[in-house]
Symmetry: C2
Subunit: 332 residues, 2 copies
Amino acid sequence: MTIYDIAKKAGVSASSVSRVVNNKPGVNPETREKIKKLLKEYNYVANEAARGLVTKSNRMVGILISDIRSIHLTEGVWEITRILSSKGYCTLILNTGNTDEGRAEGVRTMEERSVDALILMGSMFENPRVQEAIVQYMPGKPVFIMNGYLNLPNVQGVVSNERSGIHSCVDLLAQKGRRRLCYISDNMVRISSRSKKLGFQEGIRANFGDDTPYYVYENVSADMTGGFGAMMKALHEHPDIDGVICSMDILACGALQAIRESGRVVPRDISVIGVDNSEFAETCYPRLTSLDNMIIESSVEISTRVISNLEGSPSSVRKIMLFTRIMERDTT
Amino acid sequence: MTIYDIAKKAGVSASSVSRVVNNKPGVNPETREKIKKLLKEYNYVANEAARGLVTKSNRMVGILISDIRSIHLTEGVWEITRILSSKGYCTLILNTGNTDEGRAEGVRTMEERSVDALILMGSMFENPRVQEAIVQYMPGKPVFIMNGYLNLPNVQGVVSNERSGIHSCVDLLAQKGRRRLCYISDNMVRISSRSKKLGFQEGIRANFGDDTPYYVYENVSADMTGGFGAMMKALHEHPDIDGVICSMDILACGALQAIRESGRVVPRDISVIGVDNSEFAETCYPRLTSLDNMIIESSVEISTRVISNLEGSPSSVRKIMLFTRIMERDTT
DNA sequence: TTGTAGGCGTTATCAC
DNA sequence: GTGATAACGCCTACAA
């Protein structure tokens, strides 16, 4: 069913139908009513692709994410989708997988689908290969990065101060009397993972001085078993550990399990802190103290930027930072 | 950068460029090379919308989901996306919110975007309003429902025997010596919720006879606090409860917390079983016994059906059922 | 107020 | 092997 079909049935031209469909003026009220009735009767649905071809806008924004199963980022996707769709924008969500090549390919696919804007979920997109893909395939279009940034004229980034946030976590542990700390991290390829580790080291130095030992277990697989294994190893190698910070809540869940199996009690014997403040922090036991990296707030921030950019009033600010906060629960 | 631009630079016609872009025969190897080089040099990206306009296929399938944050269905979305994109199909994911009107609107939007097929995630799509929307807006296109079914010629459904699955859960509890059972369920509007409750009642009757009391708490909010509150109430009203089945893992997480606060020990005093076999079943404590409703397998099933349908060999089977299984962990 | 014509970027069908 | 030309469904001047 096209506007031509409707036009024929109404005995008018396609342009009149188009005007009615788009609520544009310049058509006789009676004709308008007649057309409206036919539109409804035949359940006319406009073809956005054809429309976009001429209007140069699909009212669609792309969201690239490595793996939509990551509960934490998914919260952000939900928030963004909610806000954008309330403004009439569709979101095209694409899983890229965990390779830079996949992510670059994702950028290309988004251009192929001619999205109006692109949102990159997560600091893993902050890398040269993705940057190159943006330059190649989306040089003009607005691109937004969640928890990351690329120095390109069309890119805007929202980051959080995870580094000093982790530093504060160390402060908290120190304040609770913890002295032998351990840091468990997933893949160190991510910029954000590296900066979190730095924050940990800075916290150690600031609280305990240069020669206090600390332990780092990195490149752990980003799931429960990863956290479990790392914690087991840590407790075995350094039985005096009394404080743990994990780069993700799910790792902390695994760590909690390992600690339990070792016969220790949280937080009496060991304190544990996670990062993300995700739902896992509530469902695990004891409920996990976690560094909230403001994914929801960042999502709102990005969404409003996308909209204002698309509606013609782009912000000249290219990078903003949100401040993390520690949500203290029962593991510290 | 369009094929015309490239054609001009190469000194050939747009048709030749199109042939090269689509790897079609009938162009001189040398010309082909020259065009290929230009394509790469200018980072040409085809406009899928324009292409779809003429080929009548966008190579895109739509996924409608009430709320992408629901970790359980998201696992399925991931699986589907993975399989479809390996076959060159993009997935357009749309959150509909929790109203039937929103879901119907979602169907319309999908037609607007001219998806090649539509996947409905969850039994909440099994309702008259959605059925009407499909008839109105997507009468011809293949529609697939995860964990649900609608009696329409273009609809295929994959369901699981949750009802008898829950019955088996009651069997398991009975076998563990549990006698005072309680069922906690989220919104009873969902077909699947209603059938699960039936399974519970049938299990009770089969194991304990007609006059053994059992307790049902329904229309609980689908989150931890919902499970927590319901369990608290249950324990207060019926302190002798020794077995609980929750319609979702996340509810069971809340229930576990309530039981802990009441001073009881799982599974010594009370057994708990969830449904979904989601990540929460692993992260909570004790690790939760859960009814696996085969979301991953269902997703694979749906994906292959979508593909074979789109590639021209549609299945004539309109509805299939997968069999649930109980994943026993530490709460029973 | 209405209709005609051109074009958006692509593919498909013909001639050449 | 190559290039016009006509769609695809829609919007937008512009003309009537």
